[in-house]
Symmetry: C2
């Protein structure tokens, strides 16, 4: 029953990060960076009223990640964790998820703040961030919780190249 | 350049919601419901240490959504909004996103609380929910903000059938 599921990019994400080396590993670490989403013009009408949201959820393709391992050593850690307990790009289905600040819209272009995303990344979906559904500030973050705050300084290295 | 992007299901989500009619439209509205994720056994090792997280992000296929419109009337609203400013299932790439509470794990099975997901839904990815990256309780939710809290009571109707 492992049928293929087919998607197509709906646009492209542009950021200052041309290489995996030195890029921020999450939006808090990308502070100050500016990015741009260019939705293919045929989808522009789908952006109506997105300007009202301060944050948007981006789903995109980790198109420079080849293959995956079921257990990995994430940044900040020397212990091995399951791929579904980490946010690393090498995954069975390499779908990336980032929550970014929406600065403004110009027709089919969205200007975003703090994208922790490589330049020229294929966009799969945009969803509005709704705190009622998406904000769980008291959620317990397993192995990650002892590193809380550290990703702000931490940059990527070669381990996912 | 619209090349196909191919994914495969990594498991199946089971919930009490057999039909679109009457199902909750977001996790807060599914309160009390129990669900189960059965990861295909070959991916079970990827779950190591997921038990430490109270919440997980599920990416799944809206496999009972055919086609899409770029502008839609969401639940709770009589106004039309762009598909990227709503969470409706009919989207150019029908990828669903839900943040659910993780109750416990038994090998390749995850028991989850409050799934706002149809029974027998193909799972694409699981990511750990990390408040440092994902919780923005003060985010501004555009047209949705005037309905804050209402989805707790609201159930689906036929508009996405």
């Amino acid at each position: 029953m492992n049928n293929n599921i087919e998607f197509q990019a709906i646009g492209t994400i542009y950021t200052p990060f041309k290489n995996k080396n030195g890029m921020p590993i999450q939006p808090p670490g990308a502070k100050g960076a500016k990015g741009k989403i260019e939705l293919f013009p045929e989808f522009a009408d789908g952006l109506k009223d997105i300007e009202g949201f301060s944050h948007i959820i981006l789903l995109f393709l980790f198109n420079r990640s080849d293959g995956y391992k079921l257990q990995v050593k994430p940044f900040l850690e020397d212990n091995v964790h399951g791929v579904f307990a980490v946010r690393a790009p090498k995954r069975p289905n390499p779908i990336g998820l980032s929550i970014v600040k929406l600065d403004r819209r110009e027709k089919n272009i969205l200007f975003i703040d703090n994208p922790d995303i490589l330049d020229n990344t294929p966009l799969l979906d945009i969803k509005p961030y709704i705190p009622d559904f998406d904000a769980y500030p008291d959620a317990v973050a397993g192995w990650q919780s002892k590193h809380s705050g550290k990703v702000l300084q931490h940059k990527s290295d070669k381990r996912f190249s």
